[in-house]
């Protein structure tokens, strides 16, 4: 589904991604871990099309289509979803109106009729229950005054509404209380299918107990330096990143 080959990217002459290779197939869940500043969010941003990143080498395709060539909205319409590490507040744009606009633009792109008001409300209600999102928040301005956890849950509500092929969750677990973490994880597990895939960027093994990954990767200094199964996450939890850093210092 997602195929990243030798991806190099940077910001203003600063190289951040230095040759990422990653294959994600339908039905899989991949976890990406790694120390602060290693380039995890940058990878997500480059895939989603944030404009300040410049790709200098390599490719990224979604179901064979060149992602890097597309406008951010077209990537989303093709089925890419990024749950942001820091969702921003947009005063004056109502959450519900935003969801409706997004959903209908994606549907139009896919050759579907826009949803009428009634079906839209029904769908919203259903997804809202799935991620146990407070109905009152739906009518407020987008993320305005939301608590950190509420913002993260709003990201998952959007994910549930838009039904993407490939979802990247950038530290969605950070800032969630224990109950919220369980609720969000349950939501994601219910949304998992053989037709979609997830990349979970996280610092904590705890999330991976709820959403069990097929693969775990360690991103360090702009490269994926280690890949394994869920046991790798346990090992990192126990030993930290020093041994990874040392290994790579030796190799470099």
């Amino acid at each position: 589904m997602l195929s990243i080959k030798n991806l190099h990217a940077g910001v203003e002459n600063k190289q951040i991604l230095k040759g990422i290779n990653l294959e994600v197939n339908a039905g899989e869940v991949h976890a990406i871990m790694g120390p602060n500043g290693s380039g995890k969010s940058s990878l997500a941003s480059v895939l989603a099309g944030r404009e300040n990143y410049e790709v200098t080498e390599g490719s990224a395709t979604l179901d064979g289509k060149d992602l890097l060539d597309m406008a951010p909205e077209d990537r989303a319409r093709e089925g890419l979803f990024l749950a942001f590490q820091y969702p921003i507040e947009i005063p004056g744009v109502s959450n519900i109106n935003f969801l409706k606009t997004a959903l209908n633009e994606i549907r139009t792109y896919r050759g579907l009729e826009p949803l009428d008001a009634k079906s839209f409300l029904k769908l919203t209600k259903e997804k809202q229950q799935l991620v146990e999102f407070d109905a009152k928040l739906v009518n407020r301005s987008l993320n305005e005054g939301f608590s950190g956890g509420e913002k993260k849950r709003n990201e998952i509500l959007q994910l549930a509404m838009l039904e993407p092929k490939l979802s990247i969750l950038d530290e969605t677990d950070s800032g969630l209380d224990i109950d919220a973490l369980r609720i969000v994880s349950n939501g994601v597990n219910k949304l998992r299918s053989k037709n979609n895939a997830f990349i979970l960027i996280t610092h904590y093994q705890r999330l991976l107990e709820y959403i069990v990954p097929d693969f775990v990767h360690v991103l360090y200094n702009g490269r994926i330096v280690k890949s394994g199964t869920k046991e790798l996450a346990l090992e990192l939890e126990e030993k930290g990143y020093d041994w990874i850093k040392e290994e790579n210092a030796v190799n470099a």
């Binding site: 989303a76 942001f84 004056g92 744009v93 935003f98 606009t101 633009e105 838009l162």
Partner: protein, 458 residues
């Protein structure tokens, strides 16, 4: 109708040489005045003469004039214009114009003026004695009209108002009778259809008698390939306990120049709400909105929203003059300046010594879409009373690219995303509009403007 024919008779053969507007006005005043003399009473003639003397003395303001510092009108007044206009327009033109300014779902009476003159065929006026709507040309010799000319304005300070006084021919005269409550808004549509370059000066007046209540929506539309410069003056007189709501939509094309002066006079316990929405892309839009508070316990709300695009200049000047105790005024102007656009805001609040317990607020917020967008914002407050609550402020912000990316990352196209964000910025002005159809209209106008700007950019 005859009066206008008189004026056109004074017209000289078409000039081949380029002549600036000042010279045109100076050369033609005597002839036009002679025509006025045949039909008008002395008190009005006297005011015209005086006003023209002021104008001649001051000439068109340059950027050395503090009130015009950021708005250079020289290129516009250097053009050559005719001063008379052909008052007719065929049905097709009128219908085309009406279609352009149609507001979906608006339930309102309609007052249609063609080149300043009421067109009764297309108008749908309220059928009641509670309100009287006539052309200024029909009422200009009635004392109730002529005594009000420049009653509340120091015309010497306003060259365009002086000019309008000297030359105006027509416009609307609306009077609401005592305690009359008009059930629906009146949508006033000014249509300008010109076969030559013209300088037009309509004069309008709204009188809301004691305890009356009414809503007006006003707009102008040009159907012309020529240059049209409109210098309009509107008097709004709001008597005790009356309430006037006044929405004004301004949208145009290149080669249109608009200078408007709205002079509001409020007596005690009255209320006036103004919503001024300006969209691209006339060459020049200069609005003067002056509110004189002539009694205690008044309430005034002025809301402005301006979207300014490339080669478009929008200048809003407001004055609110508090002279009596316990009055409240509130101004909120929000501007979105697109690439190449230039916006000007200047708001003045005066609180005179007797005006104790005044509440006066003023805020101007601007959003710049590009480094190549300009705003000059100057809120001013002059307070001579001590027991007052006043504040003013002005902000300028850049368009938030992060917000744009967030929306696009959810599949929302760039254009739609920009419109959503501009609508969000405009929201606290738009939400103040009571009428739902008008609120929706504002949203659509914003979308169309952003769409057009995107097209112009690519």
């Amino acid at each position: 109708m005859l009066k206008e024919i008189d004026i056109t008779k004074t017209r000289k053969p078409a000039q081949m040489t380029k002549k600036n507007l000042y010279d045109t006005l100076t050369d033609e005043f005597d002839g036009i005045y002679a025509a006025f003399e045949r039909t008008e009473k002395d008190c009005l003639l006297q005011k015209r003469k005086e006003a023209f003397a002021y104008f001649q003395d001051q000439k068109f303001p340059s950027t050395k004039n503090e009130e015009w510092r950021f708005t250079n009108i020289t290129p516009f007044v250097n053009d050559t214009y005719n001063l008379y206009s052909d008052f007719s327009a065929d049905d097709e033109t009128i219908e085309k114009a009406l279609e352009k300014v149609d507001v979906k779902g608006l339930d309102a009476y309609r007052l249609i003026l063609v080149n300043g003159n009421i067109n009764y065929d297309y108008s749908q006026l309220p059928q009641t004695d509670g309100i009287s709507i006539r052309s200024v040309s029909e009422v200009k010799n009635e004392v109730s009209f002529s005594e009000k000319i420049n009653q509340n304005i120091e015309v010497a300070k306003y060259p365009f108002a002086a000019l309008n006084t000297a030359f105006f021919q027509d416009g609307y005269y609306i009077e609401l009778k005592k305690n009359f409550n008009l059930d629906k808004p009146v949508y006033i549509i000014h249509i300008y259809s010109e076969k030559e370059n013209v300088f037009l000066q309509p004069r309008n007046i709204i009188i809301a008698q004691q305890g009356s209540n009414c809503k007006f929506i006003e707009t102008s539309v040009c159907i012309s390939k020529n240059t049209v410069f409109v210098n309009s003056f509107t008097d709004i007189l709001i008597n005790e306990n009356a309430y006037v709501r006044h929405a004004h939509f301004q949208r145009g094309n290149a080669n249109e120049r608009w200078v408007t002066h709205t002079q509001v006079n409020q007596e005690q316990n009255s209320r006036y709400d103004n919503y001024l929405v300006t969209l691209p892309k006339a060459d020049l839009v200069r609005n003067n909105l002056n509110v004189e508070l002539n009694g205690k316990n008044t309430e005034t709300h002025l809301y402005g929203l301006y979207l300014v695009s490339d080669k478009h200049l929008v200048d809003n000047h407001s004055v609110v003059n508090h002279k009596y105790p316990n009055c409240q005024s509130n101004q909120l102007y929000k501007g979105v300046i697109l690439d190449g656009g230039h916006g000007v805001f200047n708001g003045k609040i005066y609180v005179q010594r007797p005006a104790q317990k005044t509440n006066a607020f003023q805020q101007n917020n601007n959003l710049l879409f590009s480094p190549n967008a300009v705003i000059n914002s100057k809120p001013q407050l002059e307070i001579f009373a001590d027991d007052v609550k006043c504040s003013h402020g002005s902000t300028v912000g850049q368009f938030n690219e992060e917000s744009l990316f967030y929306l696009r990352a959810r599949g929302i196209g760039e254009e739609t995303a920009r419109s959503l964000l501009v609508n969000a910025f405009a929201f606290d002005v738009a939400e103040k509009i009571h009428n739902e159809a008008l609120r929706d209209y504002v949203e659509i106008l914003i979308e169309e403007t952003i769409e057009q700007a995107q097209k112009d950019n690519s």
